[in-house]
């Protein structure tokens, strides 16, 4: 038992993790495709037309999973960054760095699909709904994290500074969400609630779940690909990288 735990810790070094990630990536792409096909099929063909919103509501099958992923990825990113800060490991910091752009993409996708949903439903490209506004702020938090890491030359310092920012962000996200919700209800009452989804048919829930899994597998696949590139770049002075790229 102890032997196998030690085996797992071996993968904490960039050199050992690099080939492992390489072997795992195709599996995650396969899972992405599988869940994606199933999810899209349910979204477009199985889930019934909504009585109030017609066909346009189907965009929630992209919007909601993207929102979920954007928040989930931030938590995971903060976890890896915090771990790297606490244990002084290089790979954890690299994982956090590789997750950030995907998280930002999910947040941007959520915002964009939110706008696309809003136009036919409410006649405006943007509404200051609590969820969308919180998503916008989350997007800014991602941008801040990426900008900070990009601005610092020393990768170790960038890892640690990013970790502090991500942890401060994690603590602040519930506060921000709560305050935006308060702001929204105070000012607009309950008239505008973009993400008040139509009463959920069973199939709709399945559709969202499958799409969420699809996005999750995609995020892992992309993050692993990106972390391999980061490993090569950061460890470029070591012998094993010189052999690997030769």
């Amino acid at each position: 038992m102890r032997q196998s735990i030690i085996q797992w810790f071996r993968f904490g070094s960039p050199q050992a993790f690099y080939p492992l990630a390489g072997r795992l990536i195709p599996w995650f792409w396969a899972a992405t495709a599988a869940f994606g096909l199933a999810g899209l099929w349910i979204s477009f063909f199985v889930a019934p037309t909504d009585a109030q919103q017609g066909e346009g509501y189907r965009i929630i099958f992209v919007h909601v999973p993207a929102s979920w992923m954007s928040m989930f990825i931030y938590l995971v990113m903060a976890f890896w960054a915090g771990l790297g800060l606490a244990l002084n490991t290089r790979l954890s910091g690299m994982m956090a760095q590789s997750l950030a752009p995907t998280g930002a993409l999910m947040a941007a996708l959520s915002l964009w699909t939110g706008a696309l949903w809003g136009k036919p439903m409410w006649g405006a490209w943007w509404v200051w709904d609590a969820r969308l506004t919180s998503e916008l702020i989350l997007f800014f938090l991602y941008l801040g994290f990426m900008a900070l890491q990009a601005a610092i030359d020393d990768p170790r310092r960038a890892d640690k500074a990013g970790a502090i920012l991500a942890l401060v962000g994690v603590v602040n996200i519930p506060i921000i969400y709560f305050s935006v919700k308060w702001w929204n209800t105070l000012h607009q009452g309950s008239t505008i609630n973009l993400t008040k989804a139509p009463s959920m048919a069973h199939t709709m829930l399945w559709g969202m779940l499958l799409m969420a899994l699809c996005f999750w597998m995609y995020s892992i696949a992309v993050a692993l690909t990106r972390v391999r590139a980061i490993i090569l770049e950061r460890e470029r002075h070591t012998d094993w990288v010189k052999h690997a790229v030769a």
Binding site: N88, D154, R236, H237
Partner: protein, 199 residues
């Protein structure tokens, strides 16, 4: 009292030094030598606890550093002037002492400044002093801060001949009173004895 073993440091991708070790007892001092870029300043910063080491241990009075006691017993003078230009030398010394939690009355501060040759300039803003005089204000802290270990990085730079001699005297006095010092310098130092460490 000071035991260092197995220190290693890298800057970016370059390994600057590895497996550096030494010990110092009361009255001893260490002269760290090496070419530009060999890591002397990095070693100083590692020693005082500003930068983390890749490997190795530093122990002060048999406790691992950084500890509050280590910081209390230590004074580090690096490349920076470490004085506030808008304050007078007197204010600089007194505020630095207050920040460190050390009582320093005006008389003791003035005595230190006069010893460093700044008589008549105690109440001028540091801004108007020459580079050498600014350095002397910094060195005055050696007298007002009762530290056991002096870590001086290129302390003799920007000093004129008289000041070099004065600093040598100060260090010698400190050592004979049971203090310790770690010095880096390009020049030969006017302090007798001393262990050498070449990076």
């Amino acid at each position: 009292m000071l035991n260092v073993s197995g220190l290693a440091c890298s800057r970016g991708e370059r390994r600057l030094f590895s497996d550096v070790g030494f010990s110092l007892a009361a009255g001893e001092w260490l002269h760290v030598q090496g070419e530009n870029g060999s890591g002397k300043t990095s070693l100083m910063r590692l020693l005082v606890g500003l930068s983390p080491a890749d490997a190795g241990q530093i122990r002060w009075r048999d406790e691992p550093t950084p500890s509050t006691e280590f910081r209390r017993d230590l004074i580090y003078l690096g490349h920076h002037a470490a004085v506030k230009e808008d304050l007078t030398p007197l204010e600089n010394l007194r505020l630095a002492a207050a920040l460190d939690g050390i009582a320093l009355d005006e008389r003791a501060a003035l005595v230190a400044l006069i010893r460093l040759g700044l008589r008549g300039r105690e109440e001028l803003p540091v801004r108007v002093l020459s580079a050498g005089q600014k350095r002397r204000v910094l060195l005055a802290r050696l007298l007002t801060r009762p530290a056991v270990l002096w870590v001086l990085d290129e302390a003799f730079n920007a000093l004129d001949v008289a000041a070099v001699k004065l600093l040598g005297e100060l260090i010698a006095e400190h050592l004979s009173a049971g203090g310790m010092a770690v010095l880096t310098s390009h020049q030969p130092l006017p302090v007798p004895g001393g262990k050498a460490l070449v990076l």
